[in-house]
């Protein structure tokens, strides 16, 4: 019996298949309007990759925003639980996970057993991490990858203080239209910094403890992670595939359930 975890995010859907502790296959696809179909598509791809099919008997655990809207999972688990499990599997020393997703960021504290001790989501007006960065990239007409490079170049940064993603955007615009205009890289650095400072506020609310691991698509933005480390005052851990950690956690839970059923 194969343990399979699906993480249905607002932008991407991730699937991880486990076989006794090791990742058999993992897949990331863009989420469509229909979570059901995106889930099926992702699972199918993952199965093919692992040389399996729907006929093999599978135990599926789903997580992420869309976890409830799919029929093919035996169990649904909250993103926090899965993040904890996933990171604990890869980086057992981590006591804190900062997951920077598309819609929102979540900070999770783990106890010694790698279980969720506490967590915090963004307050009402500070949501939208990845999407925010995407829009900013579009606004600045800089490809997302370029953003992090640019921000690393900046000597100083523009102040972008608004917590509301949309108003931060108009702050960016007024930086663009300022006389003299603020240099691009400084604006980009400012954008990254504003995201980081929101995450810092979040982390401080539940208390920062080493080691800290970063996950989620935004974790790939090296410029942002650089600022984050500077603010934290120490280096952070980063798993190889930061986007799939929640899916991995779900798969691990699936495996645990399989074992439970066996015993």
């Amino acid at each position: 019996m194969k343990a399979l975890g699906i993480d249905i995010g607002s932008l991407t859907t991730k699937v991880v298949i486990l076989e006794n502790g090791s990742i058999l296959s993992s897949i990331i696809i863009a989420s469509g309007d229909e979570p059901e179909s995106s889930a099926e598509e992702a699972v199918e791809k993952a199965l093919n990759q692992a040389g399996l099919s729907f006929n093999d008997d599978l135990y599926i655990v789903s997580t992420g925003v869309g976890r409830k809207s799919i029929s093919l999972s035996q169990q649904q688990k909250a993103i926090t639980t899965c993040l904890a499990r996933g990171i604990n599997h890869l980086l057992p020393s981590a006591r804190m996970v900062i997951d920077m997703g598309a819609e929102s960021s979540t900070v999770v504290r783990l106890n010694e057993r790698g279980r969720v001790k506490d967590w915090a989501n963004h307050d009402k007006c500070a949501a939208g991490t990845g999407i925010f960065l995407q829009q900013m990239a579009k606004l600045m007409q800089v490809p997302l990858e370029e953003m992090s490079k640019l921000s690393l170049k900046a000597e100083s940064r523009a102040d972008i203080t608004s917590t509301c993603a949309v108003f931060a955007e108009s702050e960016v615009i007024s930086h663009v239209h300022r006389n003299p205009p603020t240099p691009k890289e400084e604006i980009v650095a400012g954008i990254n910094y504003s995201v980081v400072s929101r995450i810092m506020a979040l982390s401080k609310r539940i208390g920062i403890v080493k080691d800290v691991a970063v996950t989620g698509g935004v974790a790939l933005n090296s410029g942002l992670v650089y600022i984050l480390e500077r603010e934290m005052g120490f280096g952070v851990l980063m798993p190889d595939m930061p986007q799939i950690i929640a899916a991995l956690g779900a798969a691990i839970i699936a495996r645990e359930n399989i074992e439970k059923d066996l015993s």
Partner: protein, 421 residues
Amino acid sequence: MTEAVNTNKIKAIVSACRIISRMNRARPDVRKSEMLYYQMLNNYFTRLLNARQNGDFIAAHTVFFPAELIYAMDMVPMHTETTTWMISLFTGECTDILAAGAELGLASEICTPHRGLAGAFALGTLPRPDVMLWSNMVCDNTAKSGELIMEMTKCPGFFIDHPFKDSEDERKYLVGEMEDMVHFLEEKSHRKMDWSKLSEIVARMDRQIELVREINELRKAVPTPFHSQGFLELVSVDYLFPGQPEAIEYLETLRQELSDMVKEGKGAVPDERFRLMSLFIPPMYLMSFLEKISQEYRALSVVEPFFTYWGEGELDPGKPLESVAKKSYMLPEMRMYGPMDERALTSIVDCAKQYKVDGAIYYADVGCRHTCATIKLFKDVLNEIDVPVLTLDCDVVDPTATSEEEVREKLEQFFELLEDR
């Protein structure tokens, strides 16, 4: 502002109470206390509705204003915040009164109950009072909302300045404020303060507090006998009926019911899973939803340090005014709104231990700066004794603040966390 009174929303509260009572009568398993509770609400708002016709003297007042004095002068009290809450609770609808508040030019930073009640007066949802009474207990909003309402409804008003700390001088000052207020009321209403009646009320208030303490004792039982959102009954009974006979009747009935359940070892839900501490007030418009969730996950609120957990002390009918002043310092809420000293912090820890709570839910009403400013503080204190705290961003009355989906999502995460431990 407007004299046109449109009390449909209050009527809605009344009819809702009637319907609930009717439904309850049909239920064999219904708590008698619950029947009484809705009867009381029904009476409170019916009396308010008919006050004009009956030529009664309506005294509008903000939360934690000593309504004992109003009752003692035989006036009809109108608890402005609670009324706004109830509107939200029973109609699930307060967008228009909030919008009306905004149109007055009240910024969205002003907490919804106060923006709402200003709007409610503007729309004539609340009847025009004969006097507006308010105090700065507990926050800047309660301190400030009175004047605008006075100007809108063109009615006289009195502001009781409630000192911040608790000392001889400050109590003396508070009593002085109340004396002045009584003179003001006597002058405006041409009624005399009935001091003997006030003493009776104080005596009953003392009994009332005692009963709540006993009820809280019973709630320590595992499994806990009182249903999750039940504590709001206790809160509104104190807000609306301080020292009133019906309050005593309700509380005695409830205490009896609970002690019976405890004797039989019966819990409010079949095999309770999580015992929760509630910090601050849950969103009114999600009340039934939260009750449903607590049934679903068998997770109940067993203690609310700042809402049902009275401070030490007794009231002395011999010194009625002093007692009313003293009560304001014994209020559970006072621990939170006064100086945040050790007293407040230790009390939470004690509650957590005595009531064997598994976790605490912090309702972070985005409009309430007081409560939100202490989230971190309480989280740290409770985490020290290994009690996880869930912070739920919400608003007491504004349904646009949080949707059921958001709240369910967070609660499920929290219960998973508790499960995992």
